[in-house]
């Protein structure tokens, strides 16, 4: 099988298209690069969707956490504490076991039977956990950003008669985003790294459709040679990290465009890896 044929057979294997059987013997470098790259689709799927959905929940939780009302603030504080204080790995297991307990036949809601089997599958269950997890981490970032908005800005807004929703929309929201963005970039990168945990934590890979690390692990198990597949994953992830950094840096430039160049917040990679 030539390399191009391999690419045709396995490029979309992780989402169920192409050759059904994984290679069993005579592993070529081309096969490993293609299949691991195909698995990367799942990492991107989990990362992008969890980030996109989690952003809104995170802003909501951050606002709730800064609320003066205890009834609103306490649940937000607990949400952030539980998801930031425990390992993501355990959260995956716990979510999987909980979803397993849903009745197999489906739940009856107002006469309509709602299927529940899909919730235990990785694409839904793991995405849900990642969504909640990244929301909690990002909420903490945005909460910190909200707290560090200069007092003078808020007082100036009130002096101009800008209050309530207007004040949030025009003053707090843009400043919060600008201040929180460098940390949020890191959060995005670590979220992408965290997606590799999905298929090692209870969620089964349905019909051997797994993520990049799942296939790398498959090859390492079969060939007893870790020196090829894992570095391939590493290279893929370094590229992914670079792309995420470039996109977030572009947003960061836009958020900072009104400031003189010496006070802009720069994006710095900081070591906060495992959740």
């Amino acid at each position: 099988m030539s390399c191009w044929e391999t690419v045709q057979a396995y490029a979309f294997r992780s989402i169920g298209f192409g050759e059904n059987l994984l290679p069993k013997s005579d592993f070529t470098l081309c096969q490993q690069v293609t299949l691991i790259g195909s698995g990367l689709i799942w990492n991107i799927y989990f990362g992008v969707l969890a980030l996109a959905l989690g952003f809104f929940l995170a802003v909501g939780v951050a606002l709730a956490k800064s609320s003066p009302r205890a009834l609103v603030r306490k649940p937000a504080e607990w949400f952030v504490f539980v998801f930031r204080g425990s390992p993501l790995f355990i959260q995956f297991f716990l979510a999987y076991e909980t979803l397993q307990l849903l009745p197999k036949a489906g739940v009856n809601v107002l006469g309509i039977t709602v299927e529940t089997a899909w919730t235990t599958r990785a694409w839904a269950g793991a995405l849900f956990v990642l969504f909640l997890n990244t929301s909690a981490y990002a909420a903490e970032i945005f909460h910190g950003a909200l707290k560090s908005i200069p007092k003078g800005d808020l007082e100036a807004a009130e002096a101009f008669g800008i209050t309530g929703w207007q004040k949030f929309r025009r003053i707090q929201w843009p400043t919060m985003l600008r201040l929180g963005w460098p940390s949020y970039t890191n959060e995005a990168i670590f979220l992408f790294h965290a997606t590799t945990l999905v298929f090692f934590s209870g969620f089964p890979a349905f019909r051997q459709m797994g993520d990049a690390l799942y296939y790398a692990n498959y090859f390492a198990d079969k060939t007893f040679n870790p020196f090829v597949p894992y570095p391939i994953v590493a290279v893929y992830f370094i590229c992914l990290t670079l792309i995420v950094t470039v996109i977030f840096a572009a947003v960061n430039r836009r958020l900072n465009r009104h400031l003189p160049s010496n006070v802009r917040s720069r994006i710095r990679l900081r070591p906060q890896f495992i959740r």
Binding site: G85, S86, P87, I90, E97, Q100, L213, P226, F237, F273
Partner: protein, 292 residues
């Protein structure tokens, strides 16, 4: 454990529960919490040492050494840690066995042959005949080493930043007094950097706590392994039959980690307050302004 537990099928209620929770397997489960604490106790200093080496190397004036130090931190930070956990355990195991095979085996063929890794039986680590304890200890040792390498890179980054945060004037003054580079490093830089490193290191400690369930992936029988094993539904063939209780076991683990991180947070906050108290230097003032 108790006399009443001799025949678990006949007892009920609280007695059953107390017997169940003290069965042999459960005692192993409780010991595995000790394993996690032991891992933390061994890994934290080891990672700190690795980080210190990495940070010192990155500061070196010899270009290759400095590149090595910086490269170490950069590569580990760019790649998901779990890749390293899966990679290093096999790579280290094979590397050790290959080196040993060079010393003890008669034929020195390249061990990666086709689909297997083959060295002569004498080069196996630990030897096939050695006791289960050595197999466990070897697995645990590999895990500790892997954790130390990965977290050493993060620690190197923190310590490198802390070393740069020590006021330059201090180092220049020391040089003006005629101290050599080594003396400046030992007497001025290292004693002063800890207060700058503490916020980063305490963050790292929190991350390290949350990384411990990954031991499960390294093949160590840790708390996750036992929670899955004990929680799975047990039929009448077992001494203590029960339905699928994995949810409760994992809930227990979650609570364990939440309490652990909370306690660490409190202790670290006190430590930080203690270190910062009365720091009238420019560095202490900067720390106070930074709010840590």
């Amino acid at each position: 454990m108790f006399a009443a537990c001799a025949d678990p099928k006949t007892i009920e209620g609280l007695t059953w529960l107390s017997c169940y929770l003290t069965s042999g397997k459960h005692l192993d489960f409780y010991w595995s919490f000790v394993t996690v604490l032991l891992l933390l106790a061994v890994t934290a200093p080891a990672a700190l040492a690795m980080g210190f080496l990495g940070a010192s190397a990155a500061r070196s004036r010899l270009l290759p050494v400095s590149i090595m130090g910086k490269g170490y931190a950069a590569v580990v930070r760019g790649v998901p840690d779990i890749v390293f956990f899966l990679f290093f355990v096999i790579a280290l195991d094979q590397g050790i066995e290959y080196l040993k095979s060079l010393a003890v085996c008669a034929d020195h063929t390249w061990p990666w042959q086709g689909l297997e890794f083959r060295v002569c039986p004498e080069a196996k680590v630990p030897l096939g005949a050695s006791s289960a304890f050595w197999h466990k200890a070897y697995g645990f040792g590999l895990a500790v080493f892997t954790f130390a390498i990965v977290f050493g890179a993060f620690a190197a980054n923190v310590l490198y930043g802390a070393m740069n945060a020590v006021p330059k004037a201090q180092l220049e003054t020391a040089e003006a007094y005629g101290m050599s580079h080594g003396q400046v490093f030992r007497r001025i830089l290292v004693p002063q950097m800890w207060v700058y490193a503490l916020p980063g290191l305490s963050n790292l400690w929190m991350i390290l706590i949350k990384a411990t369930p990954l031991l499960f992936l390294l093949g160590v029988k840790d708390i996750v392994y036992y929670a899955r094993e004990l929680g799975g539904s047990k039929t009448q063939a077992y001494e203590y039959p029960h339905p699928d209780w994995r949810l409760w076991y994992f809930l227990g683990l979650l609570v364990f980690y939440l309490i652990f991180t909370k306690v660490s947070e409190l202790v670290l906050a006190r430590l930080s307050a203690r270190l910062n108290r009365g720091q009238a230097t420019a560095g202490g003032e900067a720390l106070r302004k930074a709010g840590s």
